[in-house]
């Protein structure tokens, strides 16, 4: 394992060091004193594990293909932007547009996430991306969602706190959202409906929940105390019949 002290370093230099190490075959890199450094792990298409201590900056793991990143701290905006594969584990909160257009891999966030999380997430063949959020999510959760899986656990919410913000699933036309607990109809986009879980859903959920519990040392019983609801789009082609040929 290689340790890089990021204090006082510009993001560009830090990322160059990381790219260098990974291309030399270093499999595990520990970054300490990370403080807002952007673009860590961008486009990383090799197997490697990066452990971040501190707060990475925006666009963490954008366009990433297969590495594993663990953040001991919070993550900012744009994490997993257009990510294609790999795993990100965040031991804190993550902010806006997490997993924008993500097509593969998994993101686990112990705490809360910001606005527009999972926007335009999509799946393709055996690529089925997933985002698991331990706490709550902001407005426009899963907007334009076209594929993949989004799970919100709502752990530690106050009794009057909502698990997601408004406009959840607006424009959604594919994929599945699982929310632990209930969601008020007025918080949903008009393209989504609430349905109950099937056995298959329970199986799918099991895998992700076990991972969450393992990564963040949470007891599974804690999660199992409340049932999940499932959100699906009404229509795979919400904008199919809007046009007339001129």
């Amino acid at each position: 394992m290689q340790t890089i002290d990021a204090s006082g370093m510009l993001y560009r230099d830090l990322n160059e060091l990381i790219r260098d190490s990974v291309s030399r075959g270093v499999k595990e890199i520990r970054l300490i004193n990370v403080n807002g450094h952007r673009y860590i792990g961008d486009g990383l298409a090799k197997e490697a594990s990066i452990i971040i201590e501190g707060t990475p900056g925006n666009d963490l793991a954008a366009f990433m293909e297969g590495a594993r990143i663990e953040v001991h701290g919070n993550a900012q905006d744009g994490t997993a932007n257009t990510m294609n594969g790999g795993t990100i584990v965040i031991h804190g909160d993550a902010r806006d547009a997490l997993g924008y257009s993500m097509r593969g891999g998994e993101v686990y966030v112990r705490g809360d996430v910001g606005y527009r999380v999972g926007i335009h997430m999509k799946g393709y063949q055996d690529m089925n991306p997933a985002i698991v959020v331990g706490g709550k999510a902001g407005d426009f959760f899963a907007e334009y969602m076209a594929g993949g899986i989004m799970i919100v656990l709502g752990l530690g919410l106050a009794p009057d706190e909502d698990i997601v913000g408004n406009y959840c699933g607006t424009g959604m036309h594919g994929g599945i959202i699982y929310l632990r607990g209930e969601v008020a109809p007025e918080q949903l986009g008009k393209e989504v409906k609430v349905v109950s879980l099937t056995e298959e859903d329970t199986c799918v959920l099991d895998g992700y929940l076990d991972n969450y519990c393992q990564y963040f040392k949470v007891k599974r019983e804690e999660i199992d105390k409340k049932p999940f609801c499932k959100l699906l789009p009404y229509n795979k082609r919400p904008y199919g019949n809007m046009y007339a040929g001129w």
């Binding site: 952007r38 961008d42 527009r116 076209a146």
Partner: protein
């Protein structure tokens, strides 16, 4: 109860019975199923309602028996309620739909290229004959440093990455999905042979096209279709698509019907699903955010590729371009309001945006005033119809131009504007394998190459006539331009003098 349609056919088909040999070529060729052979009567019948006047049947009829005409049937004359205005209302009353069209704005707005004249040398400086004397059209696109330091004949600092073009013309973004793979292959091959670039649009890069990587600009649009690490690495440059001239401010929408297997694999979305590109990139709500995506892409590709940002020409284009340059883009591509499209809402196409001539002049002027013109290259499109448009664009300040409609015309497009139907009879704007086969990529490449070569020679002729032997000396050289039939204000925006001045 279904509504009776009040829409009358736009075109009339005349079949010269003496010439027609009933070979049924027209029946086979029309994907709109206009022509039908009636066995009982041994007659070919044409259902004109579906005809889009793409001229396919006319061109292929071996005896020249067919003529397509604008339907001479006219509504009562009315300068306000024109036939088109009425027709639009009938269609919308019958369908409740947003009117959809293809190709660029066809309204009779002024084409400013046609109000600009070029200069030539007479007596005081000699013109140059490009056939016998060297004439340099080579163009480099990318950020140029503020200064160079050279020691012992060597550059002391590496130049930022540049695209090298043998001629200042590139093929503009057209996605696989909006056009056929054969059309893209034609353009990719032509770009390779002539030393320039084609652009993937937002449709990803089909596996057969990776071999053209060195001549490819890969686009990253709001839907991020087909974007992954290999794709980013494959191209010579990356273009962030913010907007396009035919539909500024709105997203794209490739209907599921066009997402067949190959398109689905390339875009990496399930077959038959709609490919929806949101109107904005949801990671870009400001110039600062744009900078973030630019640098995200640079980081992901190790600062080895220039990053272009494509925008539609809109009212505030100069200020926006300044922001884009400061955000770190290496190239700004500006698409004028006549830019083509595979599909756009009619009202947006025809009413939003500004002419590329004004946008270009305004941007070039602004970047010069701010002393940042060297930081970005300017590429303009929408619409460049011939080599003279290109010479004028370069003299107004462009580094290169993007062509798309012209390129498709070279491949056989007949400008019927029905690209959105997916039934392009010329094998271009279609994913129907039978139709796509009509375009042979080798012949397509030849036609596109011929066009580039013809324009190259014409540009050289015009440069030679001005006594200029390198395109570099024409860039932003507005003294080579004069306006005709323009107002004072128009001349001022274009930054050119009137003819005779």
């Amino acid at each position: 109860m279904s509504l009776k349609s009040y829409v009358t056919p736009s075109f009339l088909i005349e079949r010269n019975k003496e010439r027609c040999i009933k070979c049924k070529v027209c029946v086979q060729q029309c994907a709109n199923e206009v022509h039908r052979y009636d066995e009982e009567d041994d007659e070919i019948i044409s259902e004109e309602h579906q005809c889009v006047n793409c001229q396919r049947c006319v061109t292929l009829c071996p005896t020249g028996a067919l003529t397509i005409r604008k339907n001479p049937n006219e509504l009562r004359q009315n300068s306000n309620w024109t036939a088109e205005a009425v027709r639009a209302i009938y269609i919308q009353a019958e369908t409740g739909g947003i009117l959809l069209t293809g190709m660029g704005n066809d309204r009779p707005y002024p084409v400013y290229w046609d109000n600009i004249l070029l200069n030539a040398s007479q007596v005081t400086n000699p013109s140059i004959d490009p056939l016998r004397e060297p004439m340099e059209l080579k163009t480099h696109l990318g950020r140029k440093p503020d200064s160079l330091s050279i020691k012992e004949g060597k550059l002391q600092k590496k130049l930022p990455p540049q695209l090298e073009l043998e001629l200042p013309i590139m093929f503009s973004a057209m996605s696989f999905g909006s056009i056929s793979l054969n059309a893209i292959k034609s353009l990719a091959e032509a770009a390779k042979q002539e030393g320039t670039y084609f652009n993937t649009g937002e449709g990803g890069l089909h596996r057969d096209l990776y071999q053209y990587g060195e001549n490819t600009i890969v686009q990253v649009a709001s839907g991020r279709f087909g974007v992954h690490a290999d794709y980013l690495q494959a191209g010579a440059a990356i273009e962030i698509k913010i907007g396009q001239g035919a539909k500024p401010g709105i997203g794209g929408h490739l209907p599921g019907e066009k997402v067949e297997r190959e398109v689905s694999e390339t875009r990496m979305i399930p077959e038959g699903t709609d490919a929806i590109s949101p109107a904005p990139h949801h990671d870009i709500y400001s110039i600062e955010d744009l900078r973030q995506l630019i640098y995200s892409l640079k980081e992901a590709t190790n600062y080895e590729k220039p990053v272009s940002v494509k925008i539609a020409a809109v009212h505030n284009v100069a200020a926006i371009a300044s922001g884009i340059a400061r955000a770190g883009a290496d190239i700004i591509a500006i698409d004028g309001y006549r830019g083509g499209t595979g599909a756009a809402p009619l009202r947006i196409r025809d009413n939003v945006g500004i002419p590329i001539e004004f946008a270009l002049a305004a941007v070039d002027t602004r970047l010069r005033q701010e002393a940042i013109r060297n930081q970005v290259s300017l590429v303009v499109g929408g619409s460049i119809r011939n080599s003279a448009d290109i010479v004028k664009a370069i003299a107004l300040g462009a580094d290169a131009v993007y062509i798309a409609s012209s390129a498709l015309l070279a491949l056989g497009c007949h400008m019927c504007q029905k690209c959105y139907t997916g039934k392009c009879n010329w094998g271009i704007a279609t994913q129907d394998p039978q139709l796509a086969k009509r375009l042979n990529p080798e012949l397509g490449a030849q036609r596109a190459r011929n066009l580039l070569r013809a324009w190259k020679h014409e540009i050289q002729e015009m440069l030679g006539g001005m006594g200029i032997n390198a395109i570099e000396s024409l860039r932003g050289n507005r003294l080579m331009l004069r306006g005709i039939g323009l107002t004072e204000k128009e001349l001022q925006i274009l930054g050119i003098k009137n003819a005779g001045e």
